[in-house]
Symmetry: none
Subunit: 227 residues, 4 copies
Amino acid sequence: MRQLPRREQNRLEKQQRILGAALKVFSQAGYSGASMDMIAAEAGLTKPTLYHHFASKTDLFEAMMSAQRDLILLSFETAPESDLVDHLHEFAWNYADTVMQPEFLALARLTIGEAHRFPDVSRAYQASGPEKVLAGLMDLMQAQRALGRLSFEDAELVAQDFWGLILSAPRNRALHEPDADISQATLARYIENGIRTFLRAYSTDPATDLSRLDAVILARQADQQAD
Amino acid sequence: MRQLPRREQNRLEKQQRILGAALKVFSQAGYSGASMDMIAAEAGLTKPTLYHHFASKTDLFEAMMSAQRDLILLSFETAPESDLVDHLHEFAWNYADTVMQPEFLALARLTIGEAHRFPDVSRAYQASGPEKVLAGLMDLMQAQRALGRLSFEDAELVAQDFWGLILSAPRNRALHEPDADISQATLARYIENGIRTFLRAYSTDPATDLSRLDAVILARQADQQAD
Amino acid sequence: MRQLPRREQNRLEKQQRILGAALKVFSQAGYSGASMDMIAAEAGLTKPTLYHHFASKTDLFEAMMSAQRDLILLSFETAPESDLVDHLHEFAWNYADTVMQPEFLALARLTIGEAHRFPDVSRAYQASGPEKVLAGLMDLMQAQRALGRLSFEDAELVAQDFWGLILSAPRNRALHEPDADISQATLARYIENGIRTFLRAYSTDPATDLSRLDAVILARQADQQAD
Amino acid sequence: MRQLPRREQNRLEKQQRILGAALKVFSQAGYSGASMDMIAAEAGLTKPTLYHHFASKTDLFEAMMSAQRDLILLSFETAPESDLVDHLHEFAWNYADTVMQPEFLALARLTIGEAHRFPDVSRAYQASGPEKVLAGLMDLMQAQRALGRLSFEDAELVAQDFWGLILSAPRNRALHEPDADISQATLARYIENGIRTFLRAYSTDPATDLSRLDAVILARQADQQAD
DNA sequence: TATGAATGAGCATTCATTCAT
DNA sequence: CATGAATGAATGCTCATTCAT
């Protein structure tokens, strides 16, 4: 398909390797704590070669962030489900699985920690990550309202309620405790409770939806044990 | 009351000054980006004097964090209200006013950004901040359940739902965008919506409580305009 | 006439371009301050191409200096005048116009500044510039002595007196103040005074020659205004 | 007399040592060619200590130049002589002995070579060196005119004539050839010829003055051999 | 107890030069 | 022939930390 000349391909490969090393080192040490030497060593090349590809430390940082942003965007491709509960459940887990990955959390810590130094980077990250998700959630909510399954006025607030209910607690803990890997069980506890609370507040038929939720949860548990 | 010898008092005063300077500089530049020179200059003394009081940069960082933690604890003394809605509303605003202050946010960014380097500090911060709040919220929830005003099973999850509903959205945005000062009006939008959602999900008498909420909100608005 | 194969011609053309770029960059930044990157960029080619033509930075510097020396030699072709005063006046202006050009001065500053590092280059420059001029001046002086117009013993000293009288002051200033462009009027002041002093000291008929000088000066002024 | 606290004295001593090292290294290698490491090594201390005393390379360069300028000013304290010929002779040798010293020449080469990069330094050097001398010379000339010994109109031009006659030739050669140490005999040849030419052009009684000059020259030669 | 001065190690960045293509 | 990419060695400058006073 793509037929790049070998030169160009080599170049891109190497840039990719540098960006990967930068992600790793910056994530672990922060912007100031990371040194170009560390990144070069991690990428397996010398410092001048690094500078051959990226003109400065800030440039490298911004390029790495920008590249990560593109990856984030790829991560949020939800397969839409027709049923309300299926849809919410699917969305929640899809998002949680993405966002709770260690690399993702490390990146978020980095962005937050360097927000003062790189306000633009931080804003851009926010725009292409969380705000993108919010937009997806709003679509979901409005679709379900159109089907008569949800009842609300302000789609944005509803979307944010949903996010806050399912993920804010574990993500906050994960942000502050880098070593604590939060188990799938713990995650399930928050997510399932969050959906339940959400349904009680917004569903037009909470009783049916809550028992449907129990079924979906059981199905998922069975699925997991099969693996 | 205080009967410290003048020597000791001087010493404490100076330490306080150093810790203040450290907070300011670390918040703005991060741990690695901050230099002992900057902190000494900000505190108006020389570097060796700094080292006389704190043995190393890490020590100073940890001492500053510890001191801040104590201040955080002081901040969360809620005046309990008898009525459910009053109580939730009071709690939400009390907490929001504390937690959304610029210095508080800067500190949170710092903790999160340095979580890799100082896992203990970060965990301790978490324990004395958010977890303390959570405990308070759980008490509140259980008291209201005892009065028959709320209906739920797991107090911890309910407390976390409440927190996620009222503050996760604006706090997240504030963490990523250090310059965006979030207006009281915006904050009110999230908080009021959060309480409403919460009542719909957990109140034993949502209709009454929601109209009570409207009244409380109006009262607050009147209060604000009086100032 | 020129029957070089096109290859060779191309090669020489490129070398010329490199030498021009080197002159410009070295003049502005000095030897150490200039980088091969800057020179390559100025010449519009890549570094390895540069190294293909010149084996090292020192080589390039020396080649450039050598080339400039050849240009200097071309510059001093005086049209001899029969009359003493005409001859001195002509010579003085011819020389001044050459030597006070910005590029010439920049080159002189470069040679002097790098005299420690490149003593041979500096000596060679001296030999093909100033010493060449001095030789020409000595011829002039001896010719005029043969005609009975000048009276002296040591031709070299007389030649040097002449040079010191007409140009040492403005050239010294120009060497130290690269931005001060010395006007034609200022130059005229020094040159005319220098010739006058010279005639008073060495002419066999000062009165006649001095009034002749006034006439020549007026003629020149008229000439200038005609342009 | 001077009673500086030992601290301050130590500090000044060390600064002096640094400035001396800077003079040496900058003179030999030029501004760009000199490194802070070389200067620190020459001064017998470490780089950070250097930076403790001078905030940057440019600062150090400028401070060194400024210090040298002060030394230059000290060098030109002529003991005035009553007789015209004595006075000129005395002045010429006093000036030549100062200006032809190797360190002085090295500094002049440095200033000229870096004139592009440090125009202010170069101008300041010019102002406190050559222009100071010129002013002294003008005073001398005017005093002698008042005594009826010289005849001229423009004192500045006369002063510059004198300078150009006695020193421009050897100084120019010395600037371009750092290794060629110009002998006292050579210097004498230029100086004595220069004064002679000057007297022929400006003295009101050239015959008397020229024979007086011969006497002065012989006296000097006798003096030299006595040493 | 507080300070000015010192230092070894490290930092981002650049340089002259070389090599595979 | 010309180029993009690579590198070892500096370069200017800063840092956390220590010591003499």
